[in-house]
Amino acid sequence: MLEAVVFYVLGGMILGLGVLVITAKSAVHSVLFLVLNFLFVAALYVTLNAEFLAVIQIMVYAGGIVVLYLFVVMLVNLKRAHEQHADPRRLGVIGMLLAGVVLIEVVAISVSTASRDAAPVVASAVREFPERLNDPLLNTERLGWVLYTDYLIPFELASMLLLVAMIGAIVLARRDA
């Protein structure tokens, strides 16, 4: 029951945000809706027992691809972007608030981790690792095992593809190409 409710809420959010992505007037808004959409998809992966994919989704999509899109949107919409920041003071207040929140968070994290001793955690992780490798329930280990045995050649091909794409993107975006 709970699972179904979670699925329908996540699914509804994903579909709604997808509609917003393609209907948003400004490309920047569209990119921001896309980030939210990817985060909800990552949450959906967690409910489907794909934790590793959820983390990859957040890192590659929400962290990498979306930043790429934002850069391009800002490079391309350079002239229009200027007018929207006519009131810098209001944005400054929001920025100071956000910076304050982040500062408090960083201080809280460093205080709470400094008071705890890290050594026992690391030791227990090292001790448990050999058994956990054979545990069939852990998603990341199983996925890594399959990826590096059955799917080794596709994996290497994917890495070659990424290398070629990286070189190609650099060549294409070079200014004096």
């Binding site: 699914g11 994903i14 579909l15 997808g18 509609v19 992505v21 393609i22 490309a27 569209s30 990119v31 896309l34 959409n37 990817f38 998809v41 959906l44 992966y45 489907l48 027992n49 794909a50 590793f52 994919l53 990859i56 989704q57 590659v60 999509y61 990498g64 691809i65 790429l68 899109y69 391009v72 949107v73 490079l75 391309v76 998603n139 199983r142 996925l143 399959v146 990826l147 059955d150 799917y151 596709p154 994996f155 994917a158 593809l161 990424l162 070629v164 794409a165 990286m166 190609g168 993107a169 650099i170 060549v171 294409l172 975006a173 200014r175 190409a177």
Partner: protein
Amino acid sequence: MLSAGLFMIGVIGVLVRRNIIIIFMSIELILNAVNINLVAIAHQMDDLSGQVFAVFIIAVAAAEAAVGLGILLAFYRNKETVNIDEMTIMRW
């Protein structure tokens, strides 16, 4: 159902919008829909191949986004437009 819905939204985005950046984003939506489908079926069948394939799709999507946006930047530098109706340079 969810995957099909997201896929349809992506296809509609590709067909309807005229800003090429938004078309690229719609393609990302389509790839995400496929990934949801693969992960859901992997969960259903209790098989990891679907998740492995989803990892490859994410890698390919990253490569596609990098190259596509590189082309877009090179094009914008020459033509000063992101409207695909004006991108007729390859028309025969």
